[in-house]
Symmetry: C2
């Protein structure tokens, strides 16, 4: 079972890394890029322990809240594929 | 118009960051996580310049190859939403 977690800065939080990338894209000669926001992605392989889907999602949310995301400034989303 | 670019290490490349995260998840008491791979995600806002879709995709691939990804060790994928 595979889970994909995306962690991104909240929209209200400034993203200097994204701004630097946007500037670099413009320097390379590409026009029309209005904004860039950088985030993180995690591909997690989960053992098939026979737990119900709700329990797996609960654990995954806890992993996000306690380890992968700083929920003060970041939001997270996830998807689970069987 | 919005594009989402995902940059990940190629499967054959070791991912020490992912391994460290996997170890931390285990230390937190969560069992059953067999592997973690870390990647990057970019949300790009594109101006509506009236260019054909193929041209936008061509430019996006060039941005990935020249700036966002190190194609020696990383692979990239993208999606475009109108």
């Amino acid at each position: 079972m595979h889970a994909t977690v995306i962690v991104e800065l909240k929209p209200s939080v400034l993203d200097p890394q994204g701004k630097a990338i946007q500037h670099s894209i413009s320097t390379l000669g590409f026009e029309g890029v209005e904004d860039v926001r950088a985030g993180k992605l995690f591909r997690i392989t989960l053992a098939d322990t026979g737990q119900p889907r709700e329990e797996i999602e609960r654990q995954l949310r806890q992993i996000c809240e306690r380890l992968l995301a700083n929920t003060v400034i970041e939001k997270f989303s996830y998807s689970i594929d069987d």
